[in-house]
């Protein structure tokens, strides 16, 4: 029985790991690994993703708000929500110079702005 369970675990573990889609974004000179959170696909830093409710960013992403535009110029609504919840925005870059805003919370956990 134990052998069967162990075999199943060994069989499934790589699949579970493989299902995690990861992305690397750089903030300044620091590369940070993020995980796409299904089904919506927003990003959480990997340690937060695994810490679940213990992580502030994870908890904040459970509260989603309707789209509210602020003034002129199509500001990213996620930016306003981030600040409203006590976070601060930092812009990260991909290897091909794409930009992505992340909300950084007090415990240093991070979620992409589209999480809100």
């Amino acid at each position: 029985m134990k052998t069967t369970i162990l075999s199943l675990f060994l069989l499934c573990a790589p699949l579970a790991l493989a299902s995690e889609v990861k992305e690397n974004w750089s903030i300044g000179n620091t590369a940070i690994e993020f995980v796409q959170v299904p089904p919506r696909g927003f990003l959480l830093n990997t340690s937060c993703y695994h810490a679940k409710e213990k992580c502030q960013a994870f908890r904040e992403t459970l509260k989603r708000e309707p789209l509210v535009m602020a003034n002129d110029g199509g500001k990213n609504p996620g930016s306003a929500v981030c600040k409203k919840r006590g976070g601060s925005v930092v812009i990260a870059m991909s290897a091909i110079d794409e930009t992505q805003g992340f909300c950084v919370f007090a415990d240093k956990s991070m979620a992409s702005l589209d999480a809100f």
């Binding site: 750089s26 903030i27 300044g28 000179n29 919506r40 696909g41 927003f42 990003l43 989603r64 708000e65 309707p66 789209l67 509210v68 535009m69 602020a70 003034n71 002129d72 110029g73 199509g74 500001k75 990213n76 609504p77 996620g78 930016s79 306003a80 600040k83 601060s88 925005v89 930092v90 812009i91 990260a92 870059m93 991909s94 091909i96 110079d97 794409e98 930009t99 992505q100 805003g101 992409s112 702005l113 589209d114 809100f116």
Partner: protein, 581 residues
């Protein structure tokens, strides 16, 4: 009749779509991928759009700086509208600040780039590159700093002309020295240093006054003589022995007296207007700010005069001391970056800040050395740039701003400007009620808002323009009301101006169409690239399902979403297409 025409037009659209795209049998058309951008809390969507259109039209791999486009737009628009002295900052009715770079028009941003050049975003380290924390705050900080600095210098130097400009650099240097000292030293040390007498080793009173009168404060007059310098040293020593300190306790009482007097004076005959509580509150707040600001200005001035009179009975030295007072940084501003900024520009002070302040900068770390260093470097660049742009309008000032914020960007402007010479921007309006002044390099197309064009025909015409552009490999800028992005039904009509239930909180936004596809059911959809990072699904209706999709052939797109063509065009204000080359 109108209905019949609409049906015919709709049929034509479907038939046209089914007939294949780009004159062939294709059912989709795509342009090469464009950079995904995240504008954060900056109101630069139109500049993001222009950035993508330029990147696409020139076939560039390097992203184009939307920050720089936004600032170029501001200067360009001021020129088109003949507003040479426009401020970089405006204050909304609700008191919020906004900047000339917030909100705009994609074609005009292009036109600005064609006239002023553009930059690669890699050359714009400070604002839109990796690691910028709270870019909107950073932008706000810098723009406010620059705007008010320009304004204050222009005001203060209005009557001084060449002499004042020539001494500006030293003026700033003195100013910054005081800033730093204010956060590093105790009140007494700071005060002493401000007036030149902390220790003889550091700075002598004579040299300070001499500096103030000959270099830092050009209005003061001639240098002091050696005899006068000795007298100044003695007077300062005497002053220091009196244990002079900043005491703000008179401010609250003085404020109340002044407030009452001002209220009586200003409200005489206006009691009717006060029936509105909101107005009354707004007035009261405004009045309070005015009085507080004047008090903050007045009381230190009195002390400055006291100090000056204790030194020498010389009118010009009184003036120097007054100016020195102006350079002094109140302590509360060390507790908040915005307040620090307010102090740097000597604006926005109010009594709540003043009265809550302590006499010392208790925590030098709050306004960090790094920040001060950045400000110093920044101001040094402002100084250098100002010297070259003494008589320029907003456009020139913005050009200066580019050179200050992004020197490498400034180097690219002229080179890149030449690349756009063969392009024009075609602006196709879909909403007749929203006009925009069109300057050079913008070709206006109002045919779709001509009298008699029905909504279906308008959509058909717009779709034809979009398809033509995409088939030619050109992305299409689309200016919309965002209501359709989470409203459960097609919004149509008056866009953001209509107050439909559940539609509040929407505004105008610029995005870019990068692909088009005809589905098996004959419906057409567009792939729209936004500038909100990777986001492509939005908080939809509280109970609704997706109006848009991130998926394409089973793959999640990044920063782009699919939307029904009719739904989008119903909510579209205008299209922007680059032509030529």
């Amino acid at each position: 009749m109108l209905t019949l025409l609409s049906i015919i037009a709709a049929t034509l659209i479907s038939n046209s779509a089914l007939a294949g795209m780009c004159g062939g049998s294709r059912n989709s058309v795509n342009i090469p991928p464009l950079q995904v951008q995240d504008q954060d809390g900056l109101g630069t969507c139109y500049a993001n759009q222009a950035s993508l259109l330029i990147q696409n039209a020139l076939g560039r791999r390097q992203p184009v700086s939307y920050q720089q486009l936004g600032m170029a737009y501001a200067g360009h628009r001021a020129q088109v509208l003949n507003l040479p002295n426009s401020s970089l900052v405006r204050v909304r009715d609700n008191g919020d600040r906004s900047f000339v770079t917030e909100g705009g028009d994609g074609c005009q941003a292009f036109a600005a780039a064609r006239e002023q050049g553009f930059c690669d975003s890699r050359s714009f380290q400070a604002l839109e590159r990796s690691g910028s924390e709270d870019p909107d705050r950073v932008q706000a900080y810098y723009l406010m700093l620059v705007a008010n600095f320009f304004d204050s210098q222009r005001r203060s130097l209005r009557g001084v002309s060449e002499e004042g400009w020539a001494n500006l650099e030293n003026n700033i240097a003195n100013f910054l020295v005081e800033q730093r000292q204010s956060c590093e030293l105790s009140t007494m040390d700071y005060m002493a240093i401000s007036f030149g007498a902390r220790t003889s080793e550091m700075i002598s009173a004579a040299s300070f006054i001499e500096q103030a009168c000959t270099i830092g404060y050009p209005l003061c007059g001639k240098p002091v003589s050696p005899t006068e310098a000795d007298a100044i040293r003695n007077a300062l020593a005497s002053f220091r022995s009196r244990n002079y300190d900043v005491d703000r306790t008179p401010i609250p009482n003085a404020r109340n007296v002044r407030l009452n007097a001002e209220a009586v004076r200003q409200l005489t005959g206006r009691s009717v207007a006060m029936t509105s509580n909101n107005w009354g509150r707004a007035f009261s707040d405004l009045l309070t700010q005015q009085v507080e600001a004047s008090l903050v200005q007045t009381l230190p001035a009195a002390r400055a005069r006291e100090l000056a009179q204790s030194l020498l009975p010389r009118a010009d030295i009184t003036y120097a001391a007054t100016q020195a007072r102006d350079s002094r940084i109140p302590r509360v501003e060390c507790t908040d970056p915005w307040a620090a900024y307010a102090t740097l520009t000597r604006r926005g002070l109010n009594l709540s800040q003043a009265t809550s302040s302590t006499a010392t900068c208790v925590d030098p770390g709050v306004l960090s050395q790094q920040s001060l260093g950045e400000i110093e470097q920044f101001a040094a660049r402002v100084t250098a740039s100002l010297r070259e742009q003494q008589s320029g309008g907003l456009r020139e000032r913005l050009r200066s701003l580019i050179s200050i914020l992004a020197p490498r960007c400034a180097e690219q402007l002229d080179t890149n400007r030449g690349l756009l010479n063969q392009l024009t921007c075609k602006e196709i309006r879909l909403n007749p009620s929203l006009g925009e002044v069109r300057g050079p390099h913008v070709q206006a197309d109002d045919s779709l808002v001509a009298r008699g064009v029905s909504a279906p025909a308008r959509r058909q015409g717009a779709d034809a323009q979009i398809e033509r552009a995409l088939c030619a490999g050109r992305a299409v800028g689309v200016d919309v009301c965002t209501a359709f992005m989470n409203y459960p039904a097609p919004v149509d009509t008056e866009f953001c101006s209509r107050q439909l239930p559940g539609i509040a909180g929407h505004g105008y936004h610029a995005m870019t169409i990068v692909s088009s596809e005809v589905l098996p059911n004959g419906k057409k959809r567009y792939l729209v690239q936004n500038s909100w990072g990777s986001s492509c699904d939005f908080p939809l209706t509280r109970n609704g399902s997706g109006l848009m999709s991130c998926e394409y052939n089973g793959i999640r797109t990044t920063g782009r979403f699919w939307v029904d063509s009719d739904l989008m065009l119903n909510n579209t204000i205008s299209l922007n297409i680059l032509q030529g080359r």
